[in-house]
Symmetry: C2
Subunit: 241 residues, 2 copies
């Protein structure tokens, strides 16, 4: 049961890092969500005190959230330090999707040489469970399991820097492929099996290439939905601002 002294002060198991819900991350999630769904438009100022009231917390977690969102590029700060929603460049977001795919692929490549049989088995379990969820029409669950599958592979790459980037990339792009692309869940299930096959035989290049395409496939529909949402909320309020 582990030496228990201090070979690894804390980071003994990166996979179970629960990230106990800090208020700041909840606040960040809310704001991020509103930006990616067009409820909060580029140029909108984000005032700490306002959001603090609105959400019933103090200024501090809001401040932390804003700082994080600035680092992610969702907000920008003007010279005075006040934050506003960053302009959204759809073409640039396309590039971000591509980077997301590339980074995930790099993780898969590293994972091919580093993943353990147990981890492969665990990932396979997740995928099979996802398959069942899809079969039973539980899309929400399936989406969650999909997320956990990819996370499992990414963690198996044992590259903390890549993992951090991936987190940011994932947060910078809209989600919901399972809900808006009817045939995607089934496709995802099959793709995952191919990825697992490649990992099993430690074929990093193949794992990477499949992963890249797999992730990239969701980009266009998601971007189109975002574009629609953005134009939909831009029009009614003011023609051009």
């Amino acid at each position: 049961m582990k030496k228990a002294t201090e070979d690894y002060p804390a980071s003994e198991d990166l996979s179970l890092r629960v990230q106990r819900n800090r208020l700041s991350s909840q606040v960040a999630a809310i704001i991020r969500e509103q930006i990616l769904t067009g409820q909060l438009l580029p140029g909108q100022r984000i005032v700490q005190a306002e959001w603090a009231d609105r959400l019933g917390v103090s200024r501090m977690p809001v401040r932390d959230a804003i700082n994080g969102l600035c680092l992610e590029g969702m907000l920008v700060q003007n010279s005075a330090g006040s934050a506003e929603v960053a302009p959204i460049d759809l073409e640039g977001l396309e590039d971000v999707f591509e980077l997301n795919a590339i980074t995930t692929a790099l993780c898969a490549r590293r994972a091919a040489s580093r993943i353990t049989p147990e981890e492969i088995a665990a990932a396979e379990d997740l995928n099979e469970e996802m398959g069942r969820a899809i079969g039973e029409g539980r899309l929400q669950d399936a989406s969650e399991l999909n997320w956990r599958f990819h996370r499992a592979v990414n963690i198996a790459a044992r590259a903390p820097q890549l993992l951090a980037l991936l987190r940011i990339l994932a947060r910078s792009t809209p989600h919901g492929s399972f809900e808006i692309i009817p045939e995607w869940p089934a496709q995802a299930y099959d793709d995952h099996k191919l990825i697992l096959d490649a990992l099993r035989v430690r074929d990093g290049e193949r794992a990477a290439s499949i992963t890249r395409q797999h992730v990239l496939a969701t980009a266009q529909p998601l971007l189109q939905r975002l574009a629609k949402r953005l134009s939909a909320s831009r029009q009614p309020s003011s023609p051009l601002r």
Copy 2:
């Protein structure tokens, strides 16, 4: 002289965003530096109060710095929230270098269609000034000008999301190519001219491909230096931990 009312509440000119030196970013820079030079080793705990004393500031800017460094992946937080230096995976860092090159290349591609003649001229000026600095042996200045050249091109891409990613990528990797690769300054000057040529004729693909190779070329020497530093500081202190 601009309408001056409120066409653009704040983000009127992304290029001059001065980022007035917040204490938190200074603190972050110090810690980051110590990690990337091997003075602060993976596993080291970062205690807010300690660094607050040491640097003569309050806990808050240290806290902000730690939060930022966690997002960047330089630190990891254990379940209790206490932060420690993330394990450095050199192969993973190699991937980060590649991502840096790819992202910079994507920026160059976007810039090719969006950059203005004035911006091209400004970038060219920077490169020429860099050439002079190199000729006169002012490596420090040259390095700074190199940075500004790339920044100018990246900003011309007008993709805030990419810019944010690039900032993180740049911070995640070691620097100093001008100092440790004797022939690099001259090479950089020439590469920059090629990039400018491609931008001038709006050949995005060529600009991207040159940029990618240009950035990637510095990876190996920098990684080797980091590897040396890490093993150098790991040995004397304690055999394995």
